[in-house]
C-alpha cells in the first residue's frame, strides 16, 4: 500500500551555513560539537518514515529532541533544510507557496500544544477558521463547524469565547478546528501536554474513539511514553533530532534499541502495552467426541508439561479439563468420558485484550482461552505467562518474536 505521508531523509539545520553542519554530521559529531565548531544548530537529522492512511504515528521524545521541529516541517511551518516530504504527490518541502497553501487548506491541519485558539473569535468561528480561509460561505461553514464541534461534544458552546472554556474544552475546540475542514492528515503537537492528568486520559480515550470512526492519518507528538504506547500504531523514539527506534508499542517495550530507549521503557505499565495475543501460545486441544479422548488428553498434558487442556467441539470451545481431575477420574472409574470432568466456565478473552485485564482470569489458575472473532480457539495463555510478561522477564516459549536474548539482556541490564 502506498503511504499517505512519506518523509525521506529530512534534515533541519538552523543557521546560515547548514552545509558545515552536514559535514559535521557525516563525521559523526554530536549536536553540541557541531554547535561549538560552526554555530549551526541541528534540529532534525536524517529522519525518514512512512505513515499509512488511518494510522496513528507517534513521535516521542524529550524537550529539545527536535520532535516539534519535525512536525512543523510536515506542513511547511518550518521548511526542512534537506529532504523530501511527500503527501500523496506533493513534495511539501520543495513546492511553491501557493501549492503549500493548497495542501494546508485541503489535506493537513494541526492541533497545538497550547490550543492556539483565536481569542477574538467564538468557538464556532474558531472551528470554522480553516473553512473561512478556504472561502466557504457563512452558512455552510457554520454547519460544518457545528458538526465538528458535535463530534467533540461541544456544540452547546458554539457561541462562547475560548477564554470561557476550561483547558480540556479548549483543546476539544482545537481538535474540532482541525477536523472541520475534513483533512486527511492531522498533526498533533503535544496536544494533551498542557492538560491535567485526568483530563489528558479522557482526551486520549476520546481521540481513540474518534479515530475509530474517522480513520484520519495522525502524526502525534508527545513527551509521555505511556501516551505514545497507548495511542500509537507505530511509535518513533526521537533523541537529538534523530529517530533512535521506530516500531509498534510492543516491539519497543519488548526490544528497546539502546539504553536510552530502555531507560524510558523501564517504568511503563506493561499491562497496557501488551495484549493477549502477545503471550498466547498455539493451543493444544483434544476433540470432545474423539475416541480415547481422555487418554489422549492425559498424554498430551504429560508431553507438554501442562496441568490443563482445552477441549473443542468442532470449532467451538467446549471447555477445559485439568490433569488432576482427569487422572483421578481415570484411576477410579477406568476409562471415562471427557464431558464428565469438563469445566465449561472458562475464562475467554479476545486477541487484543490488554494484559492488565487478564489479572482476574489468570489468578483463577486455569489457562485462559483466546478466542478469535468467530469464537474459535485461537490460542491459550498460561497464567504464569501473563505475570512473567508483566515483570519483564521473557518467557522463552511464549515469545513469538525473534531477538529475544538481546531484548532480555537489554532489560536485565537496565534493571541493574
Amino acid at each position: 500500500m502506498k503511504p499517505k505521508l512519506r518523509v525521506e531523509n529530512v534534515y533541519k539545520i538552523f543557521g546560515e551555513h547548514p552545509e558545515q553542519a552536514l559535514d559535521g554530521l557525516k563525521q559523526n559529531k554530536t549536536k553540541i560539537e557541531i554547535f561549538e565548531e560552526t554555530g549551526q544548530t541541528v534540529g532534525v537529522q536524517d529522519v525518514s518514515f512512512d505513515v499509512h492512511e488511518g494510522e496513528i504515528f507517534v513521535v516521542m521524545g524529550l524537550s529539545g529532541s527536535g520532535k516539534s521541529t519535525l512536525v512543523r516541517t510536515l506542513n511547511g511551518l518550518i521548511p526542512p533544510t534537506y529532504g523530501k516530504i511527500l503527501i500523496d504527490e506533493d513534495d511539501v518541502a520543495n513546492c511553491s507557496a501557493e501549492r503549500l497553501r493548497k495542501v494546508r487548506r485541503e489535506k493537513i491541519t494541526m492541533v497545538f500544544q497550547h490550543f492556539a485558539l483565536f481569542p477574538h473569535k467564538t468557538v464556532a468561528e474558531n472551528a470554522a477558521y480553516g473553512l473561512k480561509i478556504k472561502g466557504e460561505g457563512a452558512a455552510s461553514r457554520r454547519a460544518k463547524a457545528l458538526a465538528a464541534l458535535e463530534q467533540v461534544g461541544l456544540a452547546a458552546y458554539a457561541d462562547s469565547y475560548p477564554d470561557e472554556l476550561s483547558g480540556g474544552m479548549q483543546q476539544r475546540v482545537g481538535l474540532a478546528r482541525g477536523l472541520a475542514t475534513d483533512p486527511q492528515i492531522l498533526l498533533m503537537d503535544e496536544p494533551f501536554g498542557a492538560l491535567d492528568p485526568l483530563i489528558r486520559r479522557e482526551m486520549q480515550e476520546e481521540l481513540l474513539h474518534l479515530q475509530k470512526k474517522l480513520k484520519k492519518t495522525i502524526i502525534f507528538i508527545t513527551h509521555d511514553l505511556n501516551e505514545a504506547l497507548l495511542l500509537g500504531d507505530k511509535i518513533a523514539i526521537m533523541k537529538d533530532g534523530r529517530f533512535v527506534q521506530v516500531g509498534t508499542a510492543q516491539e519497543i517495550v519488548d526490544n528497546p534499541a539502546d539504553d536510552y530507549v530502555a531507560a524510558f521503557v523501564g517504568d511503563i505499565d506493561r499491562g497496557r502495552v501488551f495484549d493477549a495475543a502477545h503471550v498466547a501460545e498455539r493451543p493444544i486441544t483434544v476433540e470432545l467426541g474423539e475416541r480415547n479422548a481422555a487418554e489422549k488428553a492425559l498424554d498430551l498434558m504429560e508431553e507438554h508439561n501442562r496441568n490443563a487442556l482445552y477441549v473443542v467441539e468442532e470449532d467451538r470451545i467446549a471447555g477445559l479439563v485439568t490433569y488432576q481431575e482427569l487422572a483421578v477420574a481415570a484411576r477410579e472409574e477406568g476409562r471415562t468420558d471427557l464431558s464428565e470432568v469438563l469445566v465449561t466456565e472458562v475464562p475467554t478473552v479476545s486477541r487484543d485484550t490488554p494484559l492488565n485485564e487478564l489479572y482476574g482470569a489468570a489468578s483463577a489458575g486455569y489457562p485462559i482461552a483466546v478466542a478469535d472473532k468467530r469464537g474459535r480457539l485461537a490460542g491459550v495463555i498460561e497464567p504464569q505467562a501473563v505475570f512473567s510478561q508483566l515483570s519483564g522477564e521473557e518467557n522463552e516459549e511464549a515469545q513469538p518474536t525473534t531477538d529475544e536474548t538481546e531484548a532480555s539482556s537489554a532489560q536485565k541490564g537496565e534493571r541493574q
Binding site: L77, R101, E106, M110, F112, A116, H120, K132, I133, Y161
Partner: protein
C-alpha cells in the same frame, strides 16, 4: 585656542537654504501643492459640517457617544464642558479646531496604520522607519514650520500638515508593536490552516492588535491637540489662533479662554478614544463592532450580552 572651526567651516545653513530654495521649491512646489488637495477637501467638508450643525445637536450627539463609550461621568462632563465653551463665546473656534484635529488624525491613521503594519512585517522597513520616527519626535516643530510655509504656503492646510508630521509617530509605533505582539502560536495556527498574508492580517493580526492601535490613535490625537497653538503660527485658525492673538496682544483673558477650550476638548476626546481602546478587554471588538456599538441603542455592556446571545 585652536578649534576645528579654524580649519573647516561648514556652511550647513547655506546648503539647506539652497537645497530648499533652489531645488525643492522651484521643482516640487506643484507636487506639494497637489498633496494638499485631499487634506483641503476633507477639512473643508468637516469644517462646513461642524459649523452647519446646530450647537445643541452637536452637544447631544457627542454626549450620547461619550455615554455609550465611556459611561455616564464622561457624558455629564462632555455636556457641561461643551455648554461652557459655548458660554465663553468660543463655539465657532472650537468647531474649527475640532475639524482640524479630526482631519489630522484621519490622515495620520491613513498613513500611519499601513506603515505600522508594514514595519511590523519587515524588519528592514522597521530599521528604516524607526530612526525617522525618532527624528520626527525629537526635532522641534518650529524647525519644520519654515520649509512647510515655503512649500505649502500659509493657512489651515499647512497647519494640518505640520500637525500630521508631529502626531504621526505614536500610531506607527503602536501599530507596529501591536502586530508584533500577537502571540506566535496564533500566527502559526493561522498559517497552518493555509491563510494568505492578507487573511492572516485581517483575521488574526489586526483584530488582536486593535487595542494597541487604538492606544496609538489616542496618543496621536493628544499630540495633534498639542499642536493647535503652533499651527496657528502659520495661519491655522480656531482655538489656537485665539491663544496666539492673546499672546500677541498680551490679552491674558483671551489666551486663557482659548487654552481652557483646548483642554476641555482634549479631555473629552481623550476619554472617548481611551474607552474605545479599553472596552471589552478580553474580546477585542472588530472595527465594525466598535463603530456599531457607538450608535447602537441601549446601555453600555448591553451589546456584549446581546453579542453572546446571538
Amino acid at each position: 585656542m585652536i578649534s576645528p572651526a579654524d580649519l573647516v567651516q561648514i556652511p550647513l545653513d547655506d546648503w539647506v537654504n539652497s537645497f530648499v530654495r533652489d531645488f525643492l521649491v522651484p521643482n516640487f512646489r506643484p507636487f506639494f501643492r497637489a498633496m494638499q488637495t485631499p487634506v483641503t477637501a476633507v477639512l473643508g467638508w468637516l469644517d462646513a459640517f461642524f459649523h452647519w450643525l446646530p450647537m445643541l445637536v452637536f452637544t447631544a450627539g457627542l454626549t450620547l457617544i461619550a455615554w455609550r463609550t465611556a459611561g455616564r461621568g464622561v457624558a455629564v462632563f462632555t455636556l457641561i464642558a461643551l455648554a461652557f465653551i459655548d458660554m465663553i463665546g468660543l463655539w465657532s473656534e472650537t468647531m474649527t479646531t475640532l475639524s482640524m484635529i479630526i482631519t489630522s488624525v484621519l490622515f495620520c491613521a491613513i498613513i500611519g496604520i499601513p506603515l505600522g503594519i508594514w514595519s511590523a512585517r519587515s524588519d528592514r522597513v522597521l530599521f528604516i522607519v524607526r530612526p525617522i520616527l525618532d527624528i520626527m519626535q525629537t526635532i522641534p516643530s518650529f524647525v519644520y514650520l519654515v520649509p512647510i510655509v515655503m512649500l505649502f504656503g500659509v493657512g489651515m492646510v499647512p497647519g494640518i500638515i505640520a500637525t500630521i508630521i508631529f502626531a504621526l509617530p505614536p500610531i506607527i509605533r503602536l501599530t507596529n508593536l501591536g502586530i508584533r505582539n500577537v502571540r506566535g502560536d496564533l500566527i502559526e495556527a493561522a498559517e497552518a490552516f493555509g491563510s494568505t498574508r492578507w487573511q492572516m492580517l485581517w483575521e488574526v493580526q489586526f483584530p488582536l492588535a486593535l487595542r494597541t492601535i487604538m492606544a496609538g490613535l489616542n496618543q496621536t490625537l493628544m499630540l495633534a491637540l498639542s499642536m493647535v497653538v503652533i499651527a496657528a503660527l502659520i495661519g491655522a485658525g480656531g482655538l489656537g489662533l485665539t491663544v496666539y492673538t492673546g499672546l500677541g496682544r498680551l490679552n491674558v483673558g483671551a489666551a486663557t479662554a482659548g487654552g481652557i477650550g483646548i483642554v476641555l476638548l482634549a479631555i473629552i476626546l481623550d476619554r472617548i478614544t481611551q474607552s474605545l481602546g479599553e472596552k471589552k478587554a478580553v474580546h477585542t471588538p472588530s472595527l465594525w463592532q466598535t463603530l456599531r456599538s457607538m450608535f447602537a441603542l441601549g446601555k453600555p455592556g448591553d451589546e456584549e450580552k446581546a453579542g453572546k446571545a446571538a
